[in-house]
Symmetry: C2
């Protein structure tokens, strides 16, 4: 659970204040303004104490990640089918397991016999568990192209790994795949780097650690299987002679797997254009969402129980963003025939 | 900083998932449904681990409250005028204090001389500091009646006190007043009780500690100064004789100070009507807002720097709520002349 980051969300939700006519402050005697400046100095010191608090919360999160892991490992085993839950493990009531303690209260307890009825199919584990979550979560389904789907069906687990104590604050999303015909990596990774210190220029805006940058990984695509590029044939007309030749070139292709080849956040030097800023912000939001919601509560996104409407996330925008990029990349194309490589 | 509670806000902000046709789950073979039940059991166990995590975060908050307190005490001294900040303490730049380290960089450093210009007034401390915050924050100004204002000008500090380790999770808001003509209490208190465990009936909705109940305090009003009641004269006609007599009665009166006489949350037994539920929810939100935003960052609400628009909080509703209550209480009045007691 990443509490710090979400104080921003709290402020959005709770701040309910009208604009003070700053004129009011200006009218105050200089002696009073002076005391207000003293309070601001104290406020900056508070922000730096707050930063230390969030570092300790991060340590707590690391500690608890270790406590969750055995349950997440069991989850993976049930999903893959490596282990079959016992009858006790697969009991479910309309109430929760606390009711087990109400001795002999068996009403609305659902026990499904381990042996399926003869005529019923019994696939291994929970087929397409993670892929189904990708389909259910708009933020993700918007990124998934038709040709991504058969690949995502090989996804077997998603893990969150925290940076070690003393290391810069960060977390890694590990996407574990079963052997497949698309790439050779057993694990694809996305690393999110965080920062937990007040901004010098604007210390009062500090609301806890923020994702400030991310790194992907190289996907070792099998020959002709890379869905993140497409080959286009294009005709070129020779300026002078007017002869026409056809050349082929590879251009980026929309795909969820571009998630592993993100933009780099701007260094202090150059800055990103608005579109890139938006793409990056969306990527950070998705990374945070995997860490904060999907990995800790996967089954609820599979069944839909975790589903809530989201007002702050405009549907589709990410998609458009991706398209825009595509256009930029392939801008000098004229009369292009698209031949997807898959 | 109360991270746990605000995960709810995070979910509102981040959850972006479409509704899974639960039909999809129904279509799955019984053997697969059985494994899904096993995942749900694991998920409930995760929720109970999460509850423990939040208890540890609460301990951290308690630890850090002690680190903030010396700064808050200094703040109180500057506000009341008990202590005058030194020139160093009242320096302020457009950047933050980190710049002090840039040796000799004195540009845009503002030092206001301790001695005010002869002609300028020099009131004690920062007059009406907390009252100004009440005026600036809609959530509060909506509760403040004209006759509350002279009382709130005597408010000198607001403190948050956490429950001791091992005690049930709770916090107390302490409103410290200078001696005044309205009541004899030096401190008015509002206590918020919290709960950090998954709900038996709905363990998956658990998002961290929640405020579940609150207690106010008795205000020892000086004679004729109680703004939370008003006296009304009403005429009563005798059924038989038709003679009319005038009686006076006291009825509740709208006032911020009703904040210290809250509704009680419903026990497991009886439940509150919708209006009362709303009033209570608003009270909890205000208590949380004092603890989470106003007390930690008071100067920013005084200057307006903390000001942000809030989409989730409908302005005015609380006011209406209060009025409704007033009506309920005084319902059998006919032809009432209102005589405020102040």
């Amino acid at each position: 659970m990443q509490n710090p980051q979400v104080l921003a969300a709290l402020q959005e939700r709770l701040d309910s204040v009208s604009h003070t006519p700053s004129s009011y402050i200006e009218t105050l005697p200089r002696a009073v303004k002076r005391r207000i400046n003293a309070l601001k100095q104290l406020q900056v010191r508070c922000a730096h104490i707050e930063a230390k608090f969030y570092e300790e919360v991060h340590d707590l999160e690391r500690k608890y990640a270790a406590l969750y892991q055995p349950l997440f490992d069991k989850r993976r085993e049930f999903i893959t089918g490596d282990v079959e839950p016992t009858d006790a493990e697969s009991e479910w009531h309309s109430e929760n397991e606390e009711d087990d303690k109400l001795a002999g209260d068996m009403k609305n307890k659902v026990v499904i016999a381990e042996k399926p009825a003869a005529e019923e199919p019994n696939p291994r584990g929970i087929p397409e568990f993670w892929f189904t979550i990708f389909r259910n979560v708009d933020m993700l389904s918007e990124l998934v192209q038709e040709y991504d789907e058969p690949i995502l069906k090989h996804l077997q687990d998603i893990k969150v790994k925290f940076s070690d104590p003393g290391q810069p604050m960060s977390f890694v999303l590990e996407f574990h795949f079963e052997p497949n015909d698309y790439f050779t990596n057993p694990v694809l990774t996305k690393t999110y780097k965080m920062k937990s210190e007040p901004d010098k220029a604007d210390p009062f805006s500090f609301e806890g650690p923020e994702i400030v940058d991310c790194d992907g990984c190289t996907i070792d695509w099998k020959k002709g299987r890379n869905v993140t590029v497409k080959t286009i044939k294009k005709k070129q007309k020779h300026k002078g002679r007017g002869t026409v030749r056809t050349i082929t070139k590879q251009v980026p292709n929309e795909s969820f797997f571009n998630f592993f080849n993100p933009l780099k956040a701007s260094g202090d030097g150059e800055s990103l254009d608005e579109d890139s800023e938006f793409t990056l912000a969306s990527d950070f939001e998705i990374g945070h969402f995997f860490r904060e919601r999907i990995v800790p509560r996967a089954v609820l996104y599979f069944t839909g129980e975790a589903i809530e409407d989201d007002d702050n996330f405009e549907e589709g925008e990410e998609g458009e963003e991706e398209e825009l990029e595509g256009d930029e990349e392939g801008e000098d194309e004229d009369d292009a025939e698209v031949t997807p490589k898959v």
